[in-house]
Symmetry: C2
Subunit: 357 residues, 2 copies
Amino acid sequence: MKRYAVILAGGQGTRFWPESRSNKPKQFLTLIGNRSLIQQSYDRLLDLFPPNQVLVVVGSEHLDLAKQQLPDLPLENFLVEPIGKNTAPCIGLAAVHIRKRDPSATMLVFPADHMIQGLTDFHLCLDKGIQWASNSDYLVTIGIMPSRPDTGYGYVEREEVPIDNGPPVYSVKRFVEKPDLDTAMAFVKSGRYYWNSGIFIWQVDSILNKIQLYLPELYNGLIQIEENIGTDSEDVVMRTVFHNLEAISIDYSILEKSDQILLVQGDFGWDDLGSWGALADTSASDIQGMVVKGDYVGIDNTDCFIHGQDVLIAALGVHDLVIVQSGNVVLVCDKSRTQEVRDLVQQVKEQKMEHYI
Amino acid sequence: MKRYAVILAGGQGTRFWPESRSNKPKQFLTLIGNRSLIQQSYDRLLDLFPPNQVLVVVGSEHLDLAKQQLPDLPLENFLVEPIGKNTAPCIGLAAVHIRKRDPSATMLVFPADHMIQGLTDFHLCLDKGIQWASNSDYLVTIGIMPSRPDTGYGYVEREEVPIDNGPPVYSVKRFVEKPDLDTAMAFVKSGRYYWNSGIFIWQVDSILNKIQLYLPELYNGLIQIEENIGTDSEDVVMRTVFHNLEAISIDYSILEKSDQILLVQGDFGWDDLGSWGALADTSASDIQGMVVKGDYVGIDNTDCFIHGQDVLIAALGVHDLVIVQSGNVVLVCDKSRTQEVRDLVQQVKEQKMEHYI
């Protein structure tokens, strides 16, 4: 019985614009350290999985980039979404590919674009999750101990009493969409709520059974795909099936409906890096609160995140700003409002300036 | 008796960095309107001077740029400084060239990089100055009615009673270097102080006599130059003489010492555009106080000056900033501190990043 890791790299996010562009979304950016986020996601798995048991699901327009960034991954382990349809179809696709290779496999799902600091604790959580998922029908998720009342994350509420320890495991009471601030504060205070990490562990059969139960149309499509894997018609079947699928998240369509969910408590320094502001918060700053990458000169600046790709950024007397230059765009943004960068991108689209996206 | 205009275009200023660079200083930039500052300085004179009576003094490294920007000016009217030596040598050089053409000429001197709004009033002042200078030994300057207690300008104090009217003409009591704020406020309140515009009117003989009196060494050099104008040795004599000259301003070396100075009162919307902030103040803004040039998207920004050359500038939630992209540099500066841009340039120099200057 093998275990397979699936890295979901189909995202198209614009929140790191202008560094993220339509031809290079967030997961392929080197935002922290020397490796891109997808490379770091892959690196984190190497102690637990040989490369031939790591699958990457990627949009067709980014396949070349993914191959380039992950040269050690066997080519057949890149699964290509012809079109993005959110997480349920994408996870289902990976599941049938894994079932084809090993029907008794355990499957672990990871977003490609998150940051994790404590590798040892992360691995302990995965081991614990594998232990619970591999001999049961349970769908296991990693819940992240919240360090602040973040309104940008979904939350998971646990039952009172752990069913296992070291790290603790709980039954899940419910999944909650992004809350408002008051609710988020109450969640954090209660001690029973976790951030939804998007990391899942289950037997490949368990998740496919759930898809059959809650998303029968998707299941039928996946069966068609599964039957054609390795045949001449694989590509055309994939394209046809995917274009007709409903775009829907695994959280909404299955996890929120199932009562067989377990949560492993994770406390290993996690961040989904949802914005430039979030990246700034997780980056090491100097004594003036400055985080600087690239050529820079400055006088009397404090608490700025400055990130120049191929220009000199010169700043004088400015505070709490994110200043990013990438290619043909310069972004200057109040550090507390970087969530709204997507609205700027929307403006660019509306003004038909696509060469800036 | 002819009149000659001399445009002093030898400046190397870095205050409009990064748009001004060592190979393209301020006077050659198109900061307002569709023509560069030197082009506008030239255009302003065309009603009063035929092109062959306009001389431009320029540094050797900017001669080609000046010729390109002023294609109607006869080539022999570009006078090249081999090395910048402040205004006294430069004005003296123009004076001997003019004396060679017409010993009885009246000479008018203009900085190349100032902004003037009221052309009619400007011309009236020049006419009045010419009237007083052309039949006397007087050195005439235009004093600008101050609209604020600016500490970035030199001031000129006049005597109490005008000696002529429409526009008024006064004897000058003294020249004053840049004052502190309290002093500047007292100056403005008194009604007897004017900004030193750097515009001068005199007979070519009058100024050369004063140079002979106060700067005998410069005078000797100028005579050597004058004797070689149009000969094969002109260039080598120019280079030799100029390299050995003391760099000194006409204000400090002559005007402050002479008691034969008149002032014509100027009130025609003048600004020396000493910084990005000064340019922002003189530019038309929208209802949010934004002045924008180049591709731009923004949300909730107020009172910013945004000037992109060949990138998109995207701004979100920022206030009172100057944001300028030019070539390989992006400047983000508190609008009230743009005078300190030169200190940033100094930093760039110290860090040996000359390709950004």
